[in-house]
């Protein structure tokens, strides 16, 4: 066996396939990790790289097996005094060892990157994957590849068959899955890798059943291997009884271990059906009634420590929970994303409150009578891993390279969600969508009182009450507020390259204006945010998130994802003073700041924008520049810019400043007189 194993390893190491797949996988991993997006790398490793790796291995094994068969490479070995099974096992073991080594190296690379970057890693989970899940799945793909290579003569057909088995199994797994009921046992062998980096521990298995019974996959692999032995024994007119016995044993192992998957699966379905059966009839009526508020959470006082570099959030604080119904609720339930670990929960007096935190559900073991309130204090922390972005109001947090964006309804603090009373009263059936607390339909109820102090990052706190995605948004970046001159929103990860390009172009366009206004050392940074998060964005309606920052209208930019529209976005920004000056509460202010923008355009571009030569504010400043020089005109502009938050950004103040700086110039005087008489526009 050693001989054929050694020979197989030699062949594999000298063939390009192993290296192509390995380097391709590593390259893909490098690509997705660029920008330190380890989170994405981990996810992509699961979603993209592992299927790529396994499928690549499968197809190459089919190819080499087919080639050896067509070239009769084993003809010379047929009459050697060497048992066929040892030869086959050696060949399979060699193929397997080469690929499993590469697999382990790739996962080690992932682990090391995690360590270097400082992300918490669940080593036990990773070890279980290295030592059990990936090796067993590879055993399956190796046996399948060798068998298909032997029975299918045409290479193309072999590839198609391999891809169909692999992809078909994965698609079948998804198709046959039941929401909330676990995976069906069929095709389970091909579902390896379906897990997501969601928890504080870095990696968590979503479909827990995948790893519960690797014997099932092992059984499949042995079944295929025994079938291969049977086939080859028949070809060589050797006794087939041992192979047949192998098939039998493998089938027993497969079916026997499948029971371990089928039974819990069936049990969960039965339990769901039983729950439905046991429901009182009236609860259906309740379920059909509009969902109303059951619990109110308010008077939040939170201290949050953010570390945008490592995407960590640590929070402590207090809030008040009130039962707003007329019935007693034995186990009040809040929403807190499973990403976070709640380490402490007490009443205001320090008395511990028992709780269960499973999934996104935080269940308190503390009854609340009708109208009763409970003051709570708690501490929780977690790493905010990149999450799948969902459509509509069911929002998810998305992490960019250097930022944290947390919509309130994502559950970054304990929230009272508008869940139905039947659910709170525990008479909801399992799997009923309206009763699933993990689905924060409609988002949390906006608290009337919410005080927050944040350390560790620049902060932006916004309130978007009344909209579909209501609640509190928390944005953390590692930049100082003066560093941040721009925030571009509405950019999904897929449009990241476009965003970078746009930022560069935008910075170039803004360069001439930077000398005119202060605080623009760093013209624009892109904070990557998926547009779903800021659907009905609150940004444009609130006070400036970053003093001295140019805050673009996220919604506007989000819908301009065609390159051709970029110029139009610039135009919007440059033409619209409110985008630059962000002060447009009145018509007069709008006209005034628009005049400033028109002047800035004239000064930097050497020509008027459209008919803006008729803009009296712009014309006044242009006369200042013509008579007294650019620096004088720019100084006036900077002074006016400084008045933005003083309430003195007015026409009168402008006239006053211009008089002081350039009142002795006759042409400026004439322009001032016209402006005083006619107004800004």
């Amino acid at each position: 066996m050693r001989a054929s194993l050694q020979m197989t390893l030699r062949l594999l190491l000298r063939a390009p396939g192993l290296w192509v797949v390995s380097l391709g996988t590593a390259g893909l991993m490098g690509w997705v990790t660029s920008g330190s997006l380890l989170l994405r790398a981990l996810q992509m490793m699961d979603m993209l790289l592992i299927p790529f790796f396994f499928l690549g291995q499968l197809l190459l094994t089919i190819a080499s097996s087919q080639q050896e068969r067509s070239e009769r490479s084993e003809e010379l070995l047929a009459a050697l005094p060497y048992p066929l099974w040892r030869f086959l096992v050696g060949r399979a073991a060699g193929t397997y060892l080469a690929w499993v080594t590469v697999s382990l190296l790739l996962w080690t690379e992932i682990g090391l990157v995690s360590v270097v970057i400082g992300h918490p890693v669940d080593w036990l989970f990773l070890a279980s994957h290295w030592l059990m899940a990936a090796p067993v799945t590879l055993l399956f793909t190796t046996a399948l590849g060798l068998l298909l290579g032997q029975v299918i003569r045409q290479p193309l057909l072999g590839y198609i068959a391999g891809a169909l088995v692999w992809l078909g199994a994965r698609i079948g797994t998804i198709a046959l899955s039941r929401d909330g009921q676990g995976l069906p046992p069929l095709f389970e062998f091909a579902a390896s890798g379906l897990y997501f980096p969601l928890t504080d521990h870095g990696l968590v298995l979503v479909e827990a059943s995948l790893y519960l019974n690797r014997l099932y996959v092992l059984g499949f692999a042995l079944l295929l291997g025994a079938a291969l032995l049977l086939l080859r024994s028949r070809e060589r007119h050797l006794p087939t009884r041992p192979a047949a016995l192998g098939i039998l044993l493998a089938a027993v192992l497969t079916l026997g271990s499948a029971v371990g998957i089928v039974r819990p699966w069936q049990a969960s379905i039965q339990a769901a059906k039983a729950n439905v059966q046991a429901m009182p009839v009236r609860t259906f009526e309740d379920l059909e009634a509009p969902i109303r508020q059951v619990l109110a959470a308010d008077q939040y006082q939170l201290d949050v420590q953010l570390d945008p570099e490592s995407h960590r959030l640590t929070a402590r604080g207090s809030w008040v929970l009130t039962n707003v119904t007329d019935v007693r609720i034995d186990q009040p339930q809040l929403g807190l994303r499973q990403t976070f670990t709640l380490s402490r929960l007490t009443t205001a007096s320090g008395e511990p409150v028992a709780f269960r935190h499973e999934g996104n559900l935080l269940q308190l073991e503390h009854p609340l009578g009708p109208g009763e309130s409970l003051s709570l204090q708690g501490e929780w922390s977690g790493t905010v891993w990149e999450s799948r972005i969902k459509d509509g109001p069911k929002l998810g947090a998305h992490i960019s390279t250097k930022s944290i964006v947390l919509p309130a309804n994502w559950g970054w603090y304990p929230v009272a969600t508008p869940e139905s009373l039947p659910y709170q009263l525990k008479i909801c059936p399992v799997g009923q969508r309206d009763c699933d607390p993990s689905i924060f339909e409609g988002g949390p109820v906006p608290p009337a009182s919410f005080a927050l102090s944040v350390t560790g990052s620049d902060l932006n706190l916004l309130h978007n009450a009344g909209e579909r995605a209501n609640g509190l948004y928390l944005v953390g970046t590692p930049y100082g507020s003066r560093q941040v001159a721009g925030v571009a929103l509405n950019l999904s990860p897929l449009t990241r390259p476009y965003a970078d390009e746009m930022a560069a172009e935008y910075a170039e366009n803004m360069r001439p204006y930077l000398t005119m206004l202060p605080g623009r050392d760093d013209p624009l940074r892109i904070i990557e945010v998926s547009y779903e998060i800021i659907w009905n964005s609150p940004w444009a309606r609130t006070a400036p998130a970053f003093p001295n920052a140019l805050l673009l209208d996220g919604t506007t930019m989000g819908y301009r994802d065609q390159e051709a529209e970029v110029t139009r976005i610039y135009s919007l920004v440059l033409q619209s003073p409110e985008q630059w000056w962000r002060m447009n509460e009145s018509h007069q202010l709008h006209d005034l700041t628009q005049g400033f923008a028109h002047f800035m355009y004239r000064s930097s571009q050497g020509r008027w924008y459209g008919s803006s030569a008729n803009d009296p504010v712009a014309a006044l400043l242009w006369q200042v520049e013509a008579g007294k020089g650019k620096e004088t005109a720019y100084q006036i502009l900077r002074q006016m810019y400084g008045e933005r938050f003083t309430g003195r950004l007015t026409l009168e103040r402008l006239i006053q400043v211009v008089q002081a700086a350039a009142g002795d110039d006759p042409k400026v005087q004439a322009a001032l007189a016209g402006l005083a008489t006619e107004g800004p526009r």
Partner: protein, 290 residues
């Protein structure tokens, strides 16, 4: 030491009778198995090499019952099939080392034998070259080299010279002749000259049966007095060719020089020639252009 076939039959599915009661004894030395394509030579060899089971009959190899103890037979047997492939990315020493391991050779002895057989088949200078770059002759020689590992008592070679150029063919024949001094070399071919040049004994097979066993000289004698040379005008040749069993025909501008098999002087004008092995073979099997 000898190989003995007794009443060996092989019937393929569909009642295709590939071997029909083969009785044959093969002694030490080079033994030729001659016959047209489809005669059953390869089937017989594959049965001997344990790659196929006979439908009936008995085979003993150096006293070992082939049907009862195939593994023991494999240990004393080296086999070079008619068609085979090699692992393209290995070198000759690596490949032979692998085969040596499968034959149970260990460590230093395996390395010694690998170097030895490479030398014997004259591939030492090509030892660093990947097998994918070998010519047809080199591949055949490597095939013999792997068969020789373990110093087998029996060497079975199936159509070894097919597709080789004359020089390689000559070299291969000499190699086989050298190897036959101390072992049984069973050479299967449909090319009579291969047998004539190397074998002490020969068996002629046709349609699954043994038609002749004996020395090449005896096979030649089967055609004694039946080989004639005729020189005919081209037009005359075209007229009578269907009545003649022609072994060879050489055309000139307006005449044809023929080598013909016939029990009596053909057309009353032929000149008697000494027979060759090919004549004997054709005379026996009834093959040849008629």
């Amino acid at each position: 030491m000898e190989i003995r076939f007794e009443g060996v039959q092989k019937i393929y599915p569909g009642q295709v009778k590939a071997l029909d009661g083969i009785d044959l004894t093969i002694p030490v030395g080079m033994y030729g198995l001659l016959g047209p394509n489809g005669a059953g030579k390869t089937t017989l060899m594959r049965i001997l090499c344990t790659l196929m089971e006979p439908t009936a009959g008995k085979i003993t190899v150096d006293g070992i019952d082939r049907l009862v103890e195939p593994e023991r037979v494999r240990r004393i047997l080296g086999y070079l099939p008619q068609e085979f492939g090699l692992y393209r990315r290995l070198t000759a020493p690596e490949y032979l080392d692998f085969v040596g391991s499968m034959k149970g050779l260990s460590g230093a002895e395996r390395r010694r034998q690998v170097a030895d057989v490479l030398e014997r088949v004259n591939l030492t200078h090509e030892r660093r070259k990947p097998l994918g770059g070998y010519s047809g002759g080199m591949k055949r020689r490597l095939g013999i080299a792997q068969a020789l590992l373990g110093d087998p008592k029996i060497l079975v070679v199936d159509e070894p010279t097919a597709g080789l150029d004359p020089e390689e063919r000559l070299r291969f024949r000499n190699l086989l002749a050298d190897l036959s001094t101390s072992r049984i070399v069973l050479l299967s071919t449909h090319i009579a000259s291969d047998i004539e040049a190397t074998c002490q004994s020969v068996a002629v097979m046709q349609k699954g049966r043994v038609r002749f066993t004996g020395s090449p000289t005896a096979l030649m004698q089967a055609a004694a007095g039946q080989v004639w040379q005729l020189d005919l005008p081209a037009a005359e040749y075209e007229r009578v060719r269907s009545t003649l069993k022609v072994v060879s025909a050489r055309r000139t501008s307006d005449a044809v020089s023929l080598r013909v098999l016939a029990p009596e002087r053909p057309l009353g004008i032929g000149e008697s020639l000494p027979p060759t092995l090919e004549d004997g073979y054709l005379c026996l099997t009834g093959e040849g252009a008629a």
